[in-house]
Symmetry: C2
Subunit: 209 residues, 2 copies
């Protein structure tokens, strides 16, 4: 009973969480312009239309805000990984599916990804570990799919880690040029990238994509 | 005469230039750790074992230092572009050659590239324009080779710009994990990447790599 009550008390309202999400997104935009170290709390207060006390009420600390910006992207990326892992498709289709989701996420969160890639070094202790763990999980998922495809013969024999790094580069680099309202729609880009990459690693079997 | 004398006077000695290069490299290492805005002149003085006056004598200004860090990488990258442009090889071999040089540069200058990618927004005016112009020249060279290969039939018909962006991502992303003394030698990585990418974009002709 005691425990259930404590949990109830600790759970914030949907409204509070939605407000926090908006603050995280607005702050990501500001930090992407000025950098994590270059952006002060006063600037974040102004951008969010909040006093210092109210801002801290939602974000806890500046470093917690940075972790929240990372998590907004990583939550979605790891949900995509889960969907792909549960899929019964062949490795090539799984890789195409993950690439499609990855580019959709990057195009929705260009500022978050910018902050994520530029300022992850500013995370410390537990938060830095958590960030590394989650990033590793994503990268490992790519490597696992490649390994699976190599074992089934769908992909050519090669170092799976290096092949995963090639894949990650091709897709993640899009944070520099892919925007949701840009001329290159994420889905079209993903289609073309999958075509290049999957032909590039296809095994000799004629049924490869 | 007047002109020749002025030029002679303006040309720094080889020793001075070598000293400046060392300062640029040491500073790149410091800025890669602390960020451009997060690194003060005092810190750069300490790292280089120089007083403020001596440091400014070599670097001119902090922004000029940032431009010099960029140029150290871009000079080499554009020299590689020149070599590849003069080559009489087929487009596939040209792309492999450029990739090989690109990864060698990234592995030699991980700190410079880090600074380059994270802090190019801090360049202003003329220097920002010059940076954009040189980066565009490199990207355009990749696109030109792809266009050439598509026209000759060596590569499949596709959007050359998008294909160039895929190539740039695959290779440039290596700045996050490729180091000259790391377990993955640049040349081996370049070989594997070229294999993936060139198979990925190869035309239907049986003589493609």
């Amino acid at each position: 009973m005691q425990r259930a009550e404590a949990t109830d008390e600790a759970r914030p309202s949907a409204k509070w969480l939605a407000r926090r999400e908006t603050i995280v997104d607005t702050s990501a935009r500001v930090i992407a312009r000025g950098g994590y170290h270059g952006t002060g709390i006063a600037e974040l207060c102004a951008a969010n239309g909040l006093g210092k006390g109210a801002l801290y009420h939602y974000i806890g600390s500046k470093e917690e805000l940075l972790a929240a910006i990372h998590n907004r992207v990583m939550d979605e990326a790891l949900q995509a990984v889960d969907r792909v892992r549960r899929s019964v498709e062949r490795p090539s289709a799984k890789l195409a599916m993950l690439g499609d989701e990855q580019l959709a996420i990057i195009s929705r969160y260009p500022d978050h990804v910018w902050v994520f890639l530029h300022d992850f070094h500013a995370l410390t202790g537990e938060r830095a570990q958590e960030f590394r763990r989650r990033r590793h999980e994503f990268e490992q998922a790519v490597e696992d799919i490649i390994r699976e495809g190599t074992e089934s013969g769908e992909f050519r024999e090669a170092e799976p880690r290096l092949t995963a790094l090639a894949w990650l580069g091709m897709y993640n680099w899009a944070y520099l040029w892919l925007h949701v309202d840009g001329p290159l729609a994420a889905h079209n880009v993903a289609h073309r990238f999958a075509e290049i990459f999957l032909r590039g690693i296809a095994g000799p079997a004629p049924d490869s994509p």
